[in-house]
Symmetry: C2
Subunit: 213 residues, 2 copies
């Protein structure tokens, strides 16, 4: 069955790879699954056809035969459970890899989303100069804990897994802020993720769409 | 093997059931699994013994034989995959239920966490009166979309699942704000969750700890 995902017709990041379809593309590349992409305009995101698959009006979605899924984390987990390459075979190690997926989206990403909101939605507000350092310190708090746990390890728990795929993707969001570079081992960890051939293919595929004529 | 979870020695909510151990207790009750609880003080959360299991210094954790897990979503998913009662048997329906778990923690909970931060950490800041309506409107945006999707259905996708368990738990965080009551069907949905015998047992168990002499 053909796998079809959705992506922005034009990503707001202009092809820097931060739109969430990159996470799903990366998972499909790691597991050697061919896929097709349906591009969606901002207007179409809020229309009934797309909302039927993703009630929050976001990309990506994932369709394969009778299955229609939304939520990046769930899509990556589904791919990882269906195909080898992203989860260890041992049951306990598998549960721990999935824990890192949830840690990425529910412990590390929320303060990063708050930071993104402050930058994108509140930059013209009178409080933003004074508030921004507070928001950045919340992000740092999580990065500090993650940095301690990672230590000198290559990946979060043994071999590269869907947990690393999600964590690297979340951390990529703050690279231009300088926050990531305050934690050398986390910056190196993200660089290792970006150096994977599967990530490079995923990045190139979204870049081609966002830089087409 | 004995299941042992951790919970606050004294929950900051005084037993209102909003600490995340309630979500795990609820999953264990829905699947009829006996469990033990190890209470952790705020000081011990930041000590090496606890950080070895949860690098972010939070509760709950889950231990069973050789397996030690953190992240509430991952723990609930592990319980749901090991025991019947929280995920449908059909593969596609199961993937969709897991999508709702991720939707709860990565689409609905982040604006609620931002709202909680504004209330708990920024209430004495000069910008809070002007900023709070903006933050609340972000929460409303998600609730509106969720309300449209739920419609007149009892649960999010067919029978009650781990997706509903997580979504109801996330929505419970904003009940006292009045935001939930702006969406009648969501308030009713949460009330259906609370009316489940398994939820009542989970709530009573955490209340007993938090109101003991």
């Amino acid at each position: 069955m053909t796998i079809t995902i959705t992506a922005f017709d034009r990503s707001p990041d202009g092809g820097r790879g931060l739109s969430r379809d990159t996470r799903v593309r990366w998972a499909l590349e790691e597991t050697d699954q061919p896929y097709e992409v349906r591009l969606v305009t901002f207007k179409a995101l809020k229309e009934s056809g797309h909302l039927a698959v993703n009630p929050f009006g976001q990309i990506p979605t994932y369709e394969e035969g009778d299955l229609a899924l939304f939520e990046t984390g769930a899509i990556v987990l589904h791919i990882a459970q269906q195909h080898s390459g992203l989860l260890p075979a041992d049951g306990n190690a598998r549960a721990r890899a999935i824990a890192w997926m949830f840690a990425a989206v529910n412990s590390v990403e929320p303060p990063i989303l708050e930071f993104a909101n402050a930058k994108l939605l509140e930059s013209d507000r009178p409080w933003n100069d004074e508030r921004m350092p507070i928001v950045m310190e919340r992000v740092r708090g999580r990065l500090r804990q993650l940095s301690v746990r990672l230590g000198v390890a290559e990946w979060l728990d043994g071999a590269f897994s869907a947990g690393d795929l999600m964590m690297v993707s979340v951390l990529l969001r703050i690279r231009t802020s300088g926050l990531l570079d305050e934690f050398r081992n986390l910056a190196d960890y993200v660089a290792r993720g970006e150096a994977r051939p599967a990530y490079k293919r995923a990045f190139a595929a979204q870049l081609a769409i966002n830089t087409r004529a």
